[in-house]
Symmetry: C2
DNA sequence: CGGTATCCAAAATGATACTG
DNA sequence: CAGTATCATTTTGGATACCG
């Protein structure tokens, strides 16, 4: 069968990893998982914590992550409603990955100036938009 | 000075991390970096190693990663042309992150069956699939 | 509050052809 | 071989309406 050498990963390893990448490559998934790695979040908290994401996308990404068994959704029968999201046992295994990423960024992030990049992160001036909105 | 507590990262930490996420959230970036983490690859090698990616996207993602200082592009003045991609010093710091991810997947990946997911990974019959696959 | 549904615009990605 | 140019399709963004 497929051997998983610990160093110098072989081909089958790449095939396996592909599923993991697909599972995490949504546009906001890494950020969502990063937040949940730190603590349980409510829907609204995630929305506030992720500038630029829409309700629509947040909802969609959360449902995908849930379907992939990475997070757990808990609905509290209260008024007003409360829904909490937290990592599943499996996803908690991603902790070391998250920490390693944070460590890397802490070390090199500062050395990578505001650089170009940031594509797909543009968001129009929200404060200015609400001002003049009318016919459509 | 932003405080970076080691456990329970604070808010500023999240803001910092956002840039890292944006840098890696392209649809194929994690996979590309994973491959380059293992060894230098030529353009064509990456294309073969990443089923489903198009020249267009591979080229685009590589240019973005290069712009973000994560990989180095080396063109050899030969015939036929040869172009090699490798991680930069900074990006090599991502090694532990990659390894942690691989370790996680090795541990839990198997427990997450073929699951639904795979959205955005659908690719129309890429010839290779058509051959009635009976072996397993 | 925490969604889902809809419609439309914009951005990202895919397919195919073509070039140095 | 390693791309780019162009056009098509898919995904995501944004606003609004509506519901439990």
């Amino acid at each position: 069968m497929k051997k998983h050498t610990n160093e110098g990963h072989d081909f089958s390893m790449q095939d396996e990893m592909r599923r993991a990448f697909a599972m995490l490559s949504g546009k906001w998934k890494l950020e969502i998982m990063w937040l949940l790695h730190q603590r349980i979040h409510r829907f609204g908290e995630l929305r506030k914590a992720i500038p630029g994401i829409t309700q629509h996308m947040l909802s969609a990404q959360l449902r995908e992550l849930e379907a992939d068994g990475l997070l757990l959704r808990t609905v509290f029968a209260e008024v007003p409603p409360r829904v909490e999201y937290e990592m599943t046992e499996k996803a908690r295994g991603l902790g070391p990955t998250m920490e390693a990423l944070a460590a890397w960024w802490g070390e090199y992030g500062s050395t990578i100036p505001a650089r170009p990049s940031m594509r797909g992160r543009k968001q129009k001036d929200l404060s200015a938009v609400k001002a003049s909105r009318q016919s459509k």
